[in-house]
């Protein structure tokens, strides 16, 4: 699946997107964030407060409890500052 990063999360990771293949035990968005942090020092630092990170699956906002099975694109991003 493809993962997208935006704003300061993108900057701190130094990449806007990547292809990932998380193991089967990574079930939810919360699991995915924890798995990304375990596997990458920059991700660990960038998501030290995972509760503030927002997520979208296939361009729909989801909670951290949402299963990621079947997702094509998962986006992770900081709180939005539109308008």
């Amino acid at each position: 699946m493809k993962i997208l990063y935006f704003a300061w999360l993108r900057e701190r990771l130094d990449r806007g997107e990547e292809e990932i293949s998380p193991p089967a035990e990574v079930l939810t968005v919360r699991d995915l964030i924890a798995w990304l942090r375990r596997n990458d020092e920059a991700a660990d630092l960038a998501m030290q407060r995972p509760e503030i990170i927002k997520a979208a699956i296939d361009a729909k906002i989801v909670s951290h409890d949402t299963p990621i099975a079947g997702a094509k694109t998962i986006a992770l991003f900081p709180p939005m500052t539109g308008g």
Partner: protein, 148 residues
């Protein structure tokens, strides 16, 4: 109706005139235009907006549907810019058409409150002393919360 997310500039007055010409059946149009603020002290040279366009269209589309249901507005247009902007540049414009002013004002306020917190845009300010991502404002969360 229309939702536009664009990196090019838009003309607020021209947009309003075009919207008003299609105002069938309404008696009130409310317009809000947000522009890049010029701050004293450490003035902003540029404001760069990053966007996730596909999600923005979904989110704003849902906001518009909610505004129609709540306020009974007849039509609306939302224009939101991304890319590099400078102080005074229009960032966002919301126009609502309704039979009477209460619905037009209410729907425009509702849409703006939601855009601040629920539309996937991120602002980065550049000043002479450096760059910084704009932090979300608690006041925006409070304004959004009154509608739920």
């Amino acid at each position: 109706m229309g939702v536009r997310i664009q990196d090019g500039a838009f003309d607020p007055g021209g947009e309003l005139n075009a919207f008003a010409r299609t105002g069938d059946g309404g008696g009130a149009i409310a317009t809000f235009t947000g522009i890049v603020r010029s701050t004293p002290g450490d003035p902003i040279e540029t404001l760069t907006l990053e966007c996730y366009p596909e999600l923005a269209l979904n989110q704003i589309g849902a906001m518009v549907a909610e505004a129609r249901g709540r306020f009974g507005i007849i039509d609306e247009t939302v224009i939101h810019r991304y890319g590099v902007l400078r102080p005074g540049d229009p960032i966002v414009q919301v126009m609502t058409l309704a039979a009477h002013r209460e619905a037009a004002f209410g729907a425009a306020q509702f849409l703006m409150d939601y855009l601040k917190t629920d539309a996937p845009f991120w602002k980065k300010e550049a000043t002479r002393t450096g760059e910084r991502w704009v932090a979300p404002r608690a006041a925006d969360d409070t304004a959004r919360a009154r509608w739920s």
